[in-house]
């Protein structure tokens, strides 16, 4: 479905991505793990059209999208939930969700999508008229994902969805993601929380210093020594205890 | 706004620039001896006045990166103080002239210290508001025309006005020339590029901005004094009108903001074109300069100076 070929991206005058190639097949959950500053966010932004690559191609269903504007990419069904959520804090939950359904296609299905989102995230129905900025971290993440769902994504990109959230909340959200995937949405996740991400993933790539440093299926990565040492060791004893 | 083009590095250019200037100055010195034509001398007077006005504005804008839209206030204060001291208090002109410059500096400091807390566009519109408030106040407090007393009127001679303006223009250009070569300038340039980074490196941004402001306002005030010396009679609020700021801004940008030659080229171009177009109906020069200005901002930030150096490079390549 999505093919990234030898892409190079700069971020604020510095090159952040050096010749990355990846693939995401329809229906998969693909995860991108790697340390802070590896370029995960830059890559996600490039796919979403916020940052045109210096070189390389990004191909969606056979058609190149690397030079399209962000709003056109949304129209093709690729939706990004950005790092830090980027909600419209001054607007209500309801308005944020409405804005998610901006494209013509999404607007036609607006009522249905809204109902679905409120089923998946009941708390959003409760807080419908509240200003988005007043929600808790977890609620904001749910709103961000709900908003993205309103855009009728075929490929959902998520940049660090677990950032700043308590482990239990993260678990709930990841469960929702699993469900979304079962409903037919392909997922591409960039995550620092490697353990939970790899448990969710069908396949994963490791991004280090702007290059792909490894790839494999979810279970393969979980078992890999390198991954265990470099990324799974980040899980502290406290987190392990609360997860059990 | 792009960084100003670097001062010419190549040795040949180092000498042609100043050489040309010296020739021009020598020529200017001689003009009143060669001709009696009032309109020529007046035209040149205006050129010199505008060079001083534009160059003084450039000190703050091109050099320190602060767009001051209240420049007319300095011009006006200088004119007001000089005129009053000279015509009403019988102070000898030289002293009144310098006092005008000094008054402009005092005003600038009084107003600049709070205003410099504003950044970028807020500084621009804040200074504009201040200048306008001052203009209206002066307009209310001094509604009567200021006219030269009979004695001064009888002995009115255009030549000293001419030389005063020439001298002022030369001094302003000299200061603009020397300033980048001083230690003070390093700090100012650092503030222009990135104020916060400069502060973090220990540069007292405010002090440096004030230094540029002092120079800018002093010469604008002297320009105002020149205005007061030149005109026989005018309404005291006239030198406070924003048109003086806008003309300085136009001339500087069209010439090339942040460069040494920019205000010189721009002011000359401005006055000469305006004079040539004076036959046309209703100030069409304003529209032309406005369009040129927009063009410069959008496509040629270095102004005529940059256009000139590009043309020269092009010619060199085709040889």
């Amino acid at each position: 479905m999505l093919e990234i070929r030898d892409v190079e991206v700069a971020y604020e005058d510095l090159q952040a991505i050096w010749g990355v190639s990846m693939e995401v097949a329809a229906g998969e959950i693909v995860v991108l793990i790697g340390p802070n500053g590896a370029g995960k966010t830059t890559l996600m932004r490039a796919i979403a059209g916020l940052q045109p690559p210096l070189r390389g191609r990004i191909v969606l269903d056979g058609a190149p999208i690397q030079s399209l504007a962000a709003h056109s990419i949304v129209e093709r069904g690729v939706v990004l939930v950005p790092e830090g959520r980027r909600l419209f804090a001054g607007m209500s939950v309801y308005e944020n969700l409405l804005l998610g359904a901006y494209t013509a296609k999404a607007r036609a299905a607006q009522a249905k999508s809204l109902q679905r989102v409120q089923e998946v995230f009941p708390i959003l129905a409760e807080r419908r008229d509240q200003a988005a900025g007043t929600l808790s971290g977890g609620e904001q993440q749910m709103l961000a994902i709900g908003r993205a769902l309103m855009s009728l994504p075929r490929l959902l990109l998520l940049d660090e969805p677990s950032l700043g959230l308590a482990p239990l909340v993260v678990r709930d959200i990841f469960e929702v993601l699993r469900q979304i995937n079962r409903d037919g949405v392909t997922l591409l996740l960039a995550e620092q929380n490697a353990r939970m991400a790899l448990e969710l993933a069908h396949r994963a790539y490791i991004l280090e210093q702007g290059k792909v440093a490894g790839q494999g299926t979810g279970p393969e990565m979980l078992a890999s020594d390198h991954v265990r040492r470099a990324y799974l060791g980040y899980v502290t004893a406290g987190e392990e205890a609360s997860e059990k | 706004m792009r960084t100003a083009p670097p001062w010419p590095a190549r040795a040949a250019e180092r000498f042609t620039g100043p050489a040309v200037l010296l020739i021009l100055i020598a020529g200017a010195l001689v003009v009143p001896q060669l001709t009696d034509r009032r309109d020529t001398i007046t035209l040149l007077f205006l050129v010199f006045l505008y060079i001083a006005l534009a160059q003084s504005w450039n000190l703050l804008a091109g050099y320190a990166g602060q767009i001051n839209l209240g420049h007319a206030a300095f011009f006006g204060v200088g004119a007001l103080v000089t005129r009053d001291l000279w015509t009403k208090e019988d102070v000898p002109f030289a002293a009144a002239f310098l006092a005008g410059g000094g008054a402009a500096v005092l005003f600038a400091l009084a107003v600049g210290i709070p205003t410099f807390r504003l950044r970028g566009i807020y500084f621009a519109i804040g200074t504009l508001a201040m200048a306008e408030a001052l203009r209206i106040t002066v307009s209310n407090l001094r509604p009567q025309v200021t006219a030269l007393p009979a004695q001064a009127l009888a002995t009115y001679d255009l030549e000293p006005r001419y030389y005063l303006a020439l001298g002022l223009a030369v001094c302003t250009v000299l200061v603009a020339f020397i300033l980048p070569r001083t230690r003070l300038s390093l700090g100012i340039l650092a503030v222009r590029e990135d104020e916060e980074a400069a502060e973090a490196s220990g540069v007292n941004a405010l002090a440096h901005k004030l230094a540029a402001l002092v120079l800018s306002s002093f010469f604008a005030g002297l320009a105002g004094g020149t205005f007061a010396f030149y005109h026989v009679s005018y309404y005291p609020d006239r030198p406070f009108f924003p048109i003086w700021t806008f003309d300085a801004v136009l001339a500087t940008f069209i010439g090339g903001v942040g460069t040494l030659a920019g205000p010189i080229v721009g002011a000359t171009f401005f006055i000469v074109v305006r004079d040539r177009l004076a036959v046309e109906v209703q100030e069409v020069h304003q529209a032309i300069f406005g369009l040129l200005f927009i063009l410069v901002v959008l496509m040629l930030p270095g102004g005529l100076v940059e256009a000139w150096s590009r043309a020269r490079r092009l010619l060199r390549r085709t040889r």
């Binding site: 059209g49 950005p82 998610g100 | 970028g120 519109i125 304003q286």
Partner: protein, 294 residues
Amino acid sequence: MNLEPIFQNLVYGLFVGGLYGMAAVGLSLVFGVLKVLNVSHGELLMLGGYVSFTLFDAYGVDPFLSIAIAAPLLFLVGLGLHGGLFRWVMRLHEEAKIKNSLLIGFGLALVLENLALRVWTADERAITTGYSGEGVTLAGIVFPYTRMSGLVVAFMAVMLLHLFLTRTYAGRAIRATSEDWEAASLMGINVQRTYVVAFAIGTALAGVAGTLVSLGYTIAPSIGLAWTLKALVVVVLAGLGSIFGAFAAGILLGEAEATSIYVFGASYREVVGLVLFIIVLLLRPQGLFGRRVR
């Protein structure tokens, strides 16, 4: 003590304040969405006034009706100005964008003023309709028809704008873009097109304000700067983010000016606004109703 003149003054302050608010709303919209301070706003207002004046003078169109022509016309002008000029600076970094747009607006103001000078000459114009001198008198205080209608029109325009921004998708897109343009583009919103539309709406609003000015005041090519400053003062007073805040701040300014007449005299009316402006800039940059600190 005779309170009548004081109340009369306050009433006039209300009317002129509504006009100030109207002048500011367009500027506030453009500044909020594009982050660009269009200093030729006053000239656009002036153009709107001239359109109405011409329609009245040549065809006898009532100024309130001519709004229906002036507003769309100025909307088109706004489309052209953005597409031809301001568009080029929108892609720049924030600081460069603000500086360059300030300069472009400045150049544009000169060109527009000169254009008006050539088309309409420097003469001051005003619209005097059949009902211009008349009004309602309540408790000894005069409420002129033109000013009252002007206030009502201004309020209705602001109301319409508010409804547009809160009830329509296009309006929501504008608000989203002004909050976070990248996030807005991730919603599928064409940000460049939103900029154009917002700018055009701002210009149209300036045109409406101009029409109201031509009724109660004079129109001349030189009024641009004064009205730009007036609108600026109100925008800064109000802070960003609130359309009604801009309208309210306009009225506040009108009343402040009206009251100041008793203390400083009529000739310092303009100064009051400018000084207030500077004080607010220095002490409370987010304005009275603004939600974001600069």
